[in-house]
């Protein structure tokens, strides 16, 4: 029983039940929603958000927030796109370290501003949200990187892989989730991130180097955003200075919060976050299938987020909230 509880702390069970009920309800009207094809559609909708959500989860657990991850995604994708355009002979996989390092550098910028100037991360990253987006315009001369520039091998990663033909980007996203799980649960760094978020004042007394842990968290968020950036180029085949990653931070925060990560820090699990991402993926795939017009979809999408949070809140208020920590 303890074992079961540790796997499915109630929060996760609650989201899982919501996903199942939602999918069955949609399937009642549209049986084709409960097919393998549908699963593929949903999973292909989620990899970027999944990776971004892992980044945001770590930041939130440390009692910070990163509003700039969409801009870091866009900037990293643009750097990689420009590289492919200017150096057409470069080996395509080089794009991955370039994207991750670019994102990490931007994340370091956030981390330094937060730690050196002791500024609230919401203010810092609100600034860099615009700053990094503006830099994306400057380095690209406000021009889109077109499909013909993105290497064919990179685009193919969004279509298939040798592993049961599951597209690489899905495997990478779940791989990142697994790695985040290991870091959060089984490393000293993970424990320090939770301790820092639970009680920032007490953290130094427990021997935690607050500056170092904070920097690492923001650098990780940047690196993961950079990874999501190159995967954006893979998935959509272009990089646009204004669209790429725009609004991404809000999708990610919604998924993470549905997944039970507290914006007050110290609380959140990888499993919950994964389920939060999947729930949003199910909703995004189901709405057009149900023939709901685009203008209404946004409203419903927002309502689903609120309903999910309210259901969760009412469940927890019945005294089931004792197991909040990962």
């Amino acid at each position: 029983m303890t074992f079961l509880r540790s796997i499915f702390a109630r929060r996760e069970a609650g989201i899982l039940v919501m996903i199942v009920i939602f999918c069955l309800a949609v399937g009642l009207h549209k049986p084709q929603f409960l097919t393998g094809q549908s699963l593929r559609i949903i999973l292909l909708l989620t990899p970027l958000i999944m990776i971004g959500a892992m980044a945001q989860m770590l930041v939130l657990v440390a009692r910070h927030v990163d509003l700039s991850i969409g801009s870091m995604l866009g900037f990293s994708a643009m750097v990689v796109g420009l590289m492919y355009r200017e150096l057409p002979d470069i080996y395509w996989l080089v794009g991955f370290p370039v994207a991750v390092l670019t994102g990490a550098a931007l994340g370091l910028g956030n981390g330094l501003l937060v730690t050196i100037f002791k500024l609230p991360s919401i203010i810092v990253t609100l600034g860099t949200l615009s700053l990094y987006r503006g830099l994306t315009f400057i380095i690209s001369d406000a021009r889109q990187i077109n499909r013909s520039v993105i290497p064919t091998e990179l685009k193919a990663m969004s279509r298939t892989s040798p592993i049961f033909e599951i597209p690489w980007i899905i495997l990478i996203a779940f791989g990142i989730a697994l790695m985040t799980y290991v870091v959060a649960r089984h490393t000293q760094l993970g424990r320090q991130i939770y301790a820092l978020g639970s009680n920032p004042d007490a953290a130094p007394l427990r021997g935690i180097d607050v500056t170092k842990v904070t920097l690492i968290v923001f650098v990780l968020a940047g690196a993961l955003s950079g990874l999501a950036g190159i995967l954006y180029a893979s998935r959509w085949g272009f990089v646009n200075p204004s669209n790429t990653g725009a609004g991404f931070e809000f999708q990610v925060i919604a998924a993470v919060v549905i997944g039970g990560v507290s914006i007050n820090g110290g609380v959140g699990t990888v499993m919950g976050t994964v389920l939060g991402v999947l729930l949003l993926g199910c909703v995004a795939a189901a709405l057009p299938l149900l023939g709901i017009p685009g203008s209404t979809q946004n409203a419903i999408y927002g309502a689903v987020i609120l309903i999910a949070l309210l259901i969760d809140r009412s469940v927890r208020q019945r005294g089931l909230a004792s197991m909040s920590r990962a």
Binding site: I41, S140, A142, Q144, S148, G237, S242, A284, G291
Partner: protein
């Protein structure tokens, strides 16, 4: 930062070069928004034209395509004292006042690639890509030819309020309802991907799930057609579902090459820029007149006529792109 000394240097050169250069017509083109590949091509038409005829060209655009976002750019250009403002308007009526002040300052105002329908008195002329009344019928013929004029088709459009797309979709509906040639084709759905790749993809997937017998999809928007093609490519169903619509050759080349898409259509945004700059210079130096029924010659484009409402079509019909000609176009 590097640009300023360059501009200063150019200005100095201009002064020393004397009268002939000083007479160059100053043209500015205000795009809908930056980062839009469609306008890269249109702008290139202006740039190339101003290398061969007497004009100086500048492109400016706001970051987002909102109704009022172009106003500060227009005001700045009026202050600068340009000769001609060409603009792809983001709104049919929000710009009236600022257009009026431009006219008062003696600036020629040309709407390019889209008009301010209902407020035509605020601009001198409009340069449109093609005859928009024929686009709907041409697109139905295109999809018909791909599916053997039989079976279910659907439309994947941009936003629900996009005026051009809605006008073409109206044409598609009329054509399919009235022309007996298309009697065996049924339009089963019109959906909107908001010109976002994610949204266009989920809408396309939903079309395929909801209409298993679907034979063809028309996406009269560059983002939509690329997203639709990607879904068909990913599912490997190019034999069963034919995707066509309006797309950019640079974005669609891959799908034409691998057989995902057999053919699609568009006009030449490049030629719009080329035509607009020739017309602007002609009006300013008096070799062309802006009167309905007047004609003028534009190199590479032939004889151009000014139609009712001072409206000019860059080409008379859509260009069809397929495996035979896709490599001839670089926009």
């Amino acid at each position: 930062m590097l640009k300023k000394p360059l501009i200063a240097a150019t200005a100095a050169l201009t002064l020393s070069a004397g009268a002939s250069v000083a007479e160059d017509i100053e043209i500015v083109f205000v795009g809908k928004n930056t980062g839009n590949p469609y306008f890269d091509s249109l702008t290139q038409g202006f740039v190339d034209a101003c290398e061969v005829i007497a004009c100086n060209f500048e492109f400016v655009a706001p970051a987002t395509a909102e109704a009022t976002s172009q106003i500060p750019f227009l005001e700045a250009q009026i202050q600068r004292g340009v000769d001609v403002i060409a603009i792809s308007p983001n709104s049919p009526d929000a710009l009236n006042q600022v257009f009026q002040s431009a006219s008062d300052a003696g600036i020629i105002v040309l709407t390019v690639n889209g008009d301010i329908t209902g407020n035509e008195q605020y601009r001198d002329a409009t340069i449109l890509p093609t005859d928009f009344t024929k686009v709907g019928a041409d697109q139905i013929e295109m999809v018909g030819s791909l599916i053997g004029y039989e079976g279910e088709i659907a439309i994947l459009s941009a936003t629900t309020e996009a005026p051009d797309q809605n006008f073409w979709i109206e044409g598609m509906n009329e054509t399919i309802a009235n022309d007996p040639k298309y009697a065996n084709m049924t339009l089963v759905a019109t959906v909107y991907g908001d010109d976002q790749p994610e949204k266009s993809t989920t809408e396309m997937e939903a079309l395929l799930s909801n209409f298993p017998n679907l034979k063809g999809v028309i996406a009269p928007t560059t983002v939509g057609i690329a997203a639709a093609a990607q879904v068909v490519q990913s599912r490997g169903i190019a034999d069963q579902v034919k995707v066509t619509g309006l797309g950019l050759p640079s974005e669609m080349r891959e799908f034409i090459k691998d057989g995902t898409v057999e053919g699609f259509q568009l006009w030449s945004p490049y030629n719009e820029g080329w035509l607009a700059s020739h017309f602007a210079v002609g009006l300013k130096n008096g070799t062309m007149t802006n009167e309905v029924g007047a004609t003028f010659e534009v190199p590479n484009l032939g004889t151009i006529t000014i139609n009712e409402g001072n409206s000019i079509n860059t080409q008379s019909a859509l260009t069809t792109f397929n495996a035979d000609n896709i490599d001839d176009f670089d926009f």
